[in-house]
Symmetry: C2
Subunit: 198 residues, 2 copies
Amino acid sequence: MNHSSSHAREPLNVDKLVEAAAKLFRQQGYAATTTRQLSGDLGIQRASLYHHISTKEDLLFEISIRSLTQIIDAVSSAVDAAPPDQRMRTLISAHLATALSGQDMHATMLIELDHLSSERRAAVVAKRAAYERLVGREVGQAQAAGLLRGDLSERQLTLALLNLLNWTIFWYRPDGADTPTSLAAWMGDVFLLGAEPR
Amino acid sequence: MNHSSSHAREPLNVDKLVEAAAKLFRQQGYAATTTRQLSGDLGIQRASLYHHISTKEDLLFEISIRSLTQIIDAVSSAVDAAPPDQRMRTLISAHLATALSGQDMHATMLIELDHLSSERRAAVVAKRAAYERLVGREVGQAQAAGLLRGDLSERQLTLALLNLLNWTIFWYRPDGADTPTSLAAWMGDVFLLGAEPR
DNA sequence: GTCTATACTTCGATAGAC
DNA sequence: GTCTATCGAAGTATAGAC
């Protein structure tokens, strides 16, 4: 049950490596994070890292793909299980719950894309586009059902929604005033009902 | 009128340095940008940089302070010149116009804060807080005037608005479908009126 | 699977001439 | 105010023993 000590040497696996890397990448940025810090935090020597990965970039790629797989799976299954008139609110709360539970990975994925090789960057860009299409599809269906206004385009509503959700990841602190659940409630209110009185 | 050639050697000043640095910092991140690239883009030798600045960090600090000074001045004067019922829409369009006209500087200011020394970071944090208070004050006054709903807190409406505005800086491209003006119009619509039909 | 030791590269910044 | 030349520190990754 000793989670804090670096002496309790449980077997090191890639999951632990990815988690520690995401924390550092988010705090300091990918480029400023050194393999010395990473191995230090894990309680191993630098050279031991290279038994599990072959370059530092592997970690950034793994973080990016995992965070996108997570949010795509979580949001699409949550939305599909929701009643038709609750799909948008369900999307908002599933997105925030997932992104904020893996905040280090998600923030890193959103901001460090340019440090990947071109092949890997293309793979991450494609996966991000797939998620954004998923959100766009929900918006479009809600518009067709009359649940969202039709005088703005699907693209405009989708971009506004993603703005609202994505920037949250950069300022949210778990010890602050909000939980992911409370956040989803009032952000849903602002997005769906607007800031002017109804 | 030769703006593109590095042979037309106009006198180099700190403004040009800051501009070139902001472009690189946004494209590659502060930590990954080298003084070799910067001097190369400016058509001078590395050592010549240090006649104008003393460290690379000076440039990041200058970028952060300048972008915040710009947006505080632009938004507060625009809002003060607007009729009471147009202050929120004016804030949105002034914010977007300013931030997107200095997109490299603003994106850098928003994302690279942690690479400043603690004293300089504190100065930038304070200035960012001042801007956010300015926005919060507008939101609070609009609530008091009945122009914005009172069943959400000033803090919630302000955070939602800043989310909407700030993340835009990271995906907006001047050659895309939107101008800062058109963007401000539909983002104002989403924020003020909401995504559901009225 | 982790270690010690190190090869090799690139970095920010400085010295001092012109 | 820009140059040539270089310093010392720090980086990623590898070699090879255990």
